[in-house]
Amino acid sequence: MAAAPLLELRGVSLAFGGLKVVSQLDLHVAEGEVVSVIGPNGAGKTTLFNLITGIYEPDEGDILLNERSIVGLEPHQINRLGVARTFQTLRLFLNMSVRENVMAAAYGRTKAGVVRSMLRTPGMRREEQEIRRLAEEHLSFFGERLKGYRWDQPAYSLSYANRRRLEIARAMATGPKILLLDEPAAGMNPVETHEISELIARLRTEAGFTILVIEHDMHVVEGISDRVVALDHGVKIVEGTFEQVATDPRVIEAYLGTKAAVTK
């Protein structure tokens, strides 16, 4: 590979007590790429995200963003360096309005201090208008699905699918280079799932994000991925194009067990 990858993991390991959750994991994501991570439940996919975003610190190995190590940084510092994520379990600020959810995430991109806020200086008001416009722009990305009349409503009033969309909008508002999407299609109906595939494609082409995505829906994975990485028990078992990974016997074994067990 000619250019250095945007995100790179080198021999990353993490254990909770005696349980090895991730072991000797190497992973790289180049700028503009869409990489999918698949694997059965408990394979360490979400842990991988928690490691990259700084919620966990690896026992071994190094995580590089633009060739700079981000191990040991606080999650908010890593976010400001350009890594944003969504959560599998949906962690919105439920009692805040939809717009405020997105505006809050622009915290790292704004500067107005408390004193300036109290005095409502012109600079502070300009900045406020700027992030308001920015939030509306990100929300508009979802078009018909997350319409303007929703923006002043509290986040808890949103449907499940819209909550997932709002999480993506919120992550976009932090101004990242790379988006980590944790099961964006989970709990969505077939129409919405199809839309998610299109949405991820647009996130790359229109918004210009590099994307690392955990997904179980193989149609989505097939539709979006440049590369697929399969994990099992915290170990990378296969990496390659969707066809290579989907037909690999080790992947089938990881999901379904050994052949002997299946035929019986």
Partner: protein, 487 residues
């Protein structure tokens, strides 16, 4: 709103298009007539209009009434409004359970006392000392926040409560620190200067009546703090605080420095409390350690919870309601009227305009007179309690007020009442309705003979009852918005 081109507008109702439902509230027709008109206007009034109206109402109070007591109560109310605003930053926005809040109030009051009294011979002008005290308060909040920033919930509560206790201990024993009298000990600091504005001392008593100046200063302080907090709430910091309350991990992952934000919330709340302490000390012209104890924290918490956490207008109203009610309960005559009016209203509210209500009230009256007559027939001493004229006189024919009450009657009837109320919740509806009559009657008996005799304890019992009632009717407080927990 710009729409991307490749999402064509759906024809017909698409999945997830619940606009009609979502906009239901907007279309709900307003009530007819004048009331509807007023309601509609009030709903559209901007927030600052309410603030102006509220502050003006307080400012006009001394014009309407020359009663020094009312002015004093109004002043105390503004102090509690300020305390509630400050606590709201920590609890309502930051979501941090701070049980040591009164310590910052004490720090502010003592700082003012030390900077303007013979204790150290320092007499700073108010306009100099107030910024210093606010900074001292903010720094104190920051320092308490430092060890607490990784603690949440119960653990934070324990640490902050400990801080309050240690502050009190230090203040109480501060007269013998290495042989020096630093805080005046249990006797506190006396002869504290009143506020000085531009070289003029502002006397507290004006011709024997509470001076209006202090009320104006406190309400102006309130307005300034309210405005400042409102603006902070609608800034990146306010949004970050509320994000932190909603989900700390998500806030951190979205680029918000959670630990720093917690410290800022603590500092802010503490600075407001310290500022309030200044006004308090200047008015009292003295400070004592016992004025800043845990019951104060509970009172301010009640105000914040009752008014609606996180809502500035709500916590202000909460402070007014709670403090005025506590004042009312100080005087047995007022307390009695409040008790019966609220009692009858509560019963009426619970049953609505039904026949059940009429039957209940009717049988209550009959039951009372019957019980009274029977008690009178057995022993006249049982009903010969003090009877004043008017309302009280009519009442003394209904409720049993004995003279020379035996010691055991009070506690037994009180515990009996609690047991009866608990039993009511277990009974089937029909039986409960019948049992309600003696329960309410016993309630009035306990009120007249036990609670009225001990107003201090009663105030807090009533406060507790009120909180329970409100939490059932409006779990988010008077002005609190509907809130959901993260599941």
């Amino acid at each position: 709103m710009s729409e991307p081109d490749d999402l064509q507008a759906p024809s017909g109702p698409a999945i997830g298009q619940d606009e009609w439902v979502a906009r239901h509230g907007e279309r709900r027709s307003q009530r007819a007539g004048l009331i509807g008109e007023i309601e509609e206007r009030a709903r559209r009034a901007p927030w600052w209009a309410w603030l102006v109206l509220f502050v003006a109402a307080f400012a006009l109070l001394p014009v309407v009434s020359h009663d020094g007591y009312i002015r004093r109560v109004a002043f105390d109310t503004t102090l509690y409004m300020l305390l509630a605003l400050g606590l709201n930053v920590v609890v309502g926005w930051g979501g941090l359970l701070d049980l040591g809040y009164a310590a910052f109030y004490a720090i502010g009051a003592y700082a003012y006392a030390m900077l303007s009294s013979p204790q150290y011979g320092i007499h700073l002008p108010t306009l100099v000392s107030i910024p210093i005290i606010v900074v001292i308060g903010a720094v104190a909040g920051f320092l308490v926040g430092l060890p607490s920033r990784r603690l949440i919930g119960d653990y934070l509560a324990i640490v902050t409560l400990f801080f309050l206790q240690i502050t009190q201990t230090v203040l109480t024993n501060g007269d013998q620190i290495a042989g020096h009298d630093l805080t005046g000990g249990a006797n506190g600091i006396i002869n504290v200067d009143p506020l000085h504005l531009l070289g003029h001392p502002l006397v507290v008593q004006h011709g024997g009546v509470f001076a209006v100046t202090y009320l104006y200063i406190s309400i102006a302080t309130f307005a300034v703090v309210y405005l400042a907090l409102h603006f902070v709430n609608h800034s990146r910091t306010g949004r970050a605080w509320r994000s932190l309350r909603e989900d700390g991990l998500a806030a951190e992952a979205m680029g918000m420095p959670v630990n720093l934000l917690k410290l800022m919330a603590f500092s802010f709340g503490a600075a407001v409390a310290a500022l309030t302490g200044t006004l308090f000390a200047a008015l009292q012209t003295s400070v004592f350690p016992l004025q800043f104890s845990f019951p104060l924290v509970i009172t301010v918490y009640t105000m914040v919870i009752l008014g609606g956490q996180g809502n500035l207008a709500g916590v202000t109203i909460g402070a007014v309601v709670v403090w005025v009610m506590l004042e009312f309960l100080r005087d047995p005559g007022d307390a009695r009227i409040l008790f019966y009016v609220v009692g009858v209203l509560a019963i009426a509210f619970a049953f609505g305009r039904t026949r059940k209500l009429a039957v209940l009230l009717g049988s209550l009256v009959v039951f009372g007179f019957a019980a009274h007559a029977i008690a009178d027939a057995i022993n006249h001493d049982w009903v010969s309690g003090p009877a004043a004229n008017g309302f009280d006189h009519a009442l003394s024919h209904w409720v049993i007020i004995p003279t020379g009450l035996a010691n055991w009657v009070g506690p037994v009837s009180y515990i009996g009442l609690v047991c009866l109320v608990l039993a009511l919740t277990l009974l089937p509806a029909r039986v409960r309705y019948v049992a309600l009559v003696p329960t309410i009657y016993l309630g009035t008996f306990v009120w007249e003979n036990v609670l009225l005799a001990q107003p201090d304890a009663t105030r807090y019992i009533i406060l507790g009852v009120m909180l329970i009632g409100l939490m059932i009717l409006r779990p988010n407080g008077l002005l609190g918005e509907r809130r959901v927990e993260i599941v």
